[in-house]
């Protein structure tokens, strides 16, 4: 199972990579929005964890691009951001995100659990 993690903050990227690898996922990392699209095309991951504020192209645009790409639109996308404004959350769901996680509100293990759950059931739980 391959997951693509799009995160511009190095420390967070490091912890996420370590945690997911520990749980037997292969991890592809992207540091900005453009790389995210390119890597998604190249690796066709089973799931994408997507930050919103990113260099080059923001997460909403990345999400829009993914969902309008015939080959990528079926890949479940979980937003992993520290923005928590109601409109932003709504916008992410409207654009087709399967879940929205505010980073500070969850231990890293819980994020791994959420990813497992989505991959197992195909459902996000709208649990903010």
């Amino acid at each position: 199972m391959t997951i693509l993690i799009v995160e511009d903050e190095e420390i967070l990227r490091k912890v996420l990579k370590e945690k997911f690898e520990e749980n037997d996922y292969s991890v592809v990392l992207a540091m900005d929005g453009e790389a995210a699209i390119n890597l998604a095309r190249k690796y066709k991951p089973q799931l994408i964890l997507l930050d919103l504020i990113l260099p080059k192209k923001d997460g909403f645009e990345v999400l829009k691009d993914l969902k309008s790409d015939f080959e990528l639109k079926h890949i479940p996308v979980i937003i992993l951001s520290n923005l928590g404004q109601d409109e932003g959350i709504k916008k992410a769901f409207d654009l087709g995100a399967i879940d929205y996680i505010i980073k500070t509100q969850h231990p890293v293990n819980e994020i791994v659990e959420k990813v497992k759950h989505v991959l197992l059931t195909g459902n996000g739980h709208n649990n903010r």
Partner: protein
């Protein structure tokens, strides 16, 4: 906020030069922006074009211009080019010997124009989201790194305890940031209630489950009494949850060790009533005025809940009111303290 009377020039207001016969002879850049007329189309026209007719305030301004008299501060409604009316603050300053034959400068500042408000809201919103991201990112890095560290088998129990202390402190910072964000959202008006039909009992029960460990730590007993069959409300569940959580966690924090906390769900008229009672110390007279204001921390509050931010009840009140409800309390010697909030029930339209 209207500008201070003595300080009009410090605001990015419009400056208009007007001649004694009321004709506009000078029209600044800001005037173009706030009134909508370009310099070309307005020069030579009467200043009264932008003022609402027949208003006492407009007459005062016109008269000051005609007489070349000083008018330090006056609020009046103006008609902008787009036809919209907005409230402006004016000052008329005599200008003798001006090269453009102006006898008065009129300084105008849009006090509550839609444009100004939207701009302010945007600035506030941008600030909120930037602050959230900037503060939360390092907090997340600390949180997750500590988690990984604490799982390390080579960490001794003493070290783990210290790491846990750091973790707990970091969580407190995270809560504080959450509270601050909530407060700014309520104040910016961006926290809008997404009302729908909800079961209040479910919300109360899930919040109880969440906070039960805190009560257990203080050997407190929480009882829940349902006194009504009507528990379908029309409210934003997240707001309701926020309000109830704050009130209940206060009851736990300020209630005595081994005490009892009684939660009652009732109904009165068109409202659902949720009350939380604890038999802790009563709220002192000195605290009552400020109880729902933000950042208020009384002596008792600091002693019983040193980690509090002083934002809980402010948020609870804002959340309840955004749902169209009300919050109040009773605190009497020997009776303990009860916080109650009312929130509109769902009423079937027949």
């Amino acid at each position: 906020m209207p500008p201070k009377k003595t300080n009009l020039y410090s605001f990015p207001g419009a400056v208009v030069d007007v001649a004694g016969d009321g004709k506009i002879v000078g029209w600044g850049k800001n005037a173009e922006r706030v009134f909508g007329y370009s310099t070309k189309e307005i020069i030579g026209r009467q200043f009264s074009v932008v003022l609402s007719e027949n208003a006492e305030a407009s007459r005062k301004i016109i008269s000051a211009i005609r007489k070349g008299k000083r008018l330090p501060y006056c609020e009046a409604f103006c008609k902008k080019k787009d036809g919209l009316t907005a409230k402006f603050a004016f000052a008329v300053l005599p200008a003798k010997g001006n090269a453009r034959r102006a006898t008065a400068y009129v300084v105008a500042y849009n006090v509550d124009g839609k444009e100004g408000k939207e701009e302010m809201e945007k600035i506030q919103n941008d600030f909120i989201s930037v602050a959230a991201h900037q503060l939360r990112t390092p907090l997340t890095a600390i949180k997750w790194t500590l988690e990984v560290f604490m799982e390390d088998k080579n960490v001794t129990p003493t070290q783990r305890e210290r790491l846990n202390d750091i973790y707990v402190s970091n969580e407190r910072l995270i809560y504080l940031v959450n509270d601050l964000l909530n407060v700014s959202r309520f104040q910016a008006g961006t926290r809008v209630a997404n009302k729908k039909k909800i079961n209040i009992e479910e919300i109360v029960r899930s919040s109880l489950r969440l906070l039960l460990p805190n009560a257990k730590r203080k050997r407190q007993k929480i009882t829940l009494k349902i006194q009504t069959q009507k528990s379908i409300a029309i409210a934003d569940p997240l707001l309701l949850n926020e309000a109830f959580n704050n009130v209940l966690s206060n009851a736990i924090a300020y209630g005595p060790e081994g005490g009892e906390i009684a939660v009652v769900l009732g109904a009165k008229g068109a409202n659902c009533l949720i009350s939380v009672h604890n038999n802790g110390p009563i709220i002192p007279e000195s605290a009552r005025q400020k109880l729902f204001t933000k950042f208020y921390r009384g002596e008792t509050e600091r002693r019983l809940k040193p980690s509090g931010t002083g934002l809980g009840l402010f948020i609870a009140k804002a959340a309840v009111e955004a749902n169209g409800g009300k919050i109040w309390y009773e605190s009497r010697p020997g009776k303990g303290t009860t916080f109650t909030f009312a929130t509109p029930l769902f009423i079937m339209k027949t």
